[in-house]
């Protein structure tokens, strides 16, 4: 049986609300179950993987997110794409953490077609 595949679309940035923390908890749980993950970071969510984040009072989102993607080199795989129009608009294209690929909405269309489930967390 082929592995299950889940695509998670995020649209919110970190810290202002709990959405990104929830997304990461969900992603971690899915990975533990052996599910292949695709992260598509859209709009303000392209800040999730921005390098050098150092929040004083919250968990460092970039590090946690980056660890899930890096550990996804083996099975279950975890890939991450940040939307180029959104990263360019926010000036973060060159500052994405290791493992995040700059891509576009067409990639999301392909992931949606391939995945067992696609969800959006706003």
């Amino acid at each position: 049986m082929t592995e299950k595949q889940l695509t998670i679309v995020s649209i919110n940035g970190p810290y202002r609300d709990e959405g990104v923390f929830t997304m990461i908890r969900l992603a971690h749980a899915a990975k533990e179950k052996g599910i292949t993950l695709n992260f598509f970071n859209y709009l303000d969510a392209t800040v999730i993987a921005h390098r050098d984040q150092a929040p004083k009072e919250f968990p460092p989102i970039e590090t946690i997110f980056g660890n899930i993607v890096k550990k996804g080199l083996k099975k279950p795989k975890a890939d991450a794409i940040a939307c180029i129009k959104c990263t360019d608009a926010r000036g973060v294209t060159k500052y994405q953490t290791e493992g995040v690929i700059i891509g576009g909405l067409y990639d999301l269309g392909e992931w949606t077609a391939e995945s067992d489930k696609t969800i959006l967390i706003g």
């Binding site: 859209y42 067409y106 269309g109 949606t112 077609a113 696609t118 959006l120 706003g122």
Partner: protein
């Protein structure tokens, strides 16, 4: 294999980027071989009013205008099926003659069926 994708917009145009950015997402789904419907509900139905104008002021200061959601809908009207929830349109006093051509009104019952029939439902 292509999927049936619903993108549901609950947010009004201009106050947030959501409505504007959901439209190219739907168009890209079609480009990748999926079937996409975009459904405006709640405050999202304000996006379907025709004659939208934007502009924050002098272009020498602002460089360019914010694009209209209407323009983005019209650009993609051949690719994506656009719907809006009838009761939310009525609630906001939007008349039929104010709605952008080819956007179909949909009842709550029809929307429920549409959600159940789809493979993917993404809510902005």
């Amino acid at each position: 294999m292509g999927k049936k994708v619903n993108i549901i917009i609950t947010q009004p145009p201009y106050g947030k980027e959501d409505a504007y950015s959901a439209i190219p997402m739907a168009a890209s789904q079609v480009a990748a071989g999926n079937e996409a419907s975009l459904i405006f509900v709640s405050g999202g139905v304000h996006s379907i009013v025709s004659g939208q104008k934007t502009g924050y002021g002098d272009l020498a200061v602002w460089f360019k205008d914010v694009p209209t959601v209407e323009g983005e809908i019209i650009k993609n009207i051949e690719l994506v099926s656009f719907f809006a929830l009838d009761r939310d349109i009525a609630k906001r006093g939007i008349n039929d003659n104010e709605i952008i051509d080819r956007i179909k009104k949909i009842s709550l019952e029809e929307l429920t069926d549409k959600i159940l029939e789809a493979d993917v439902n993404l809510v902005f």
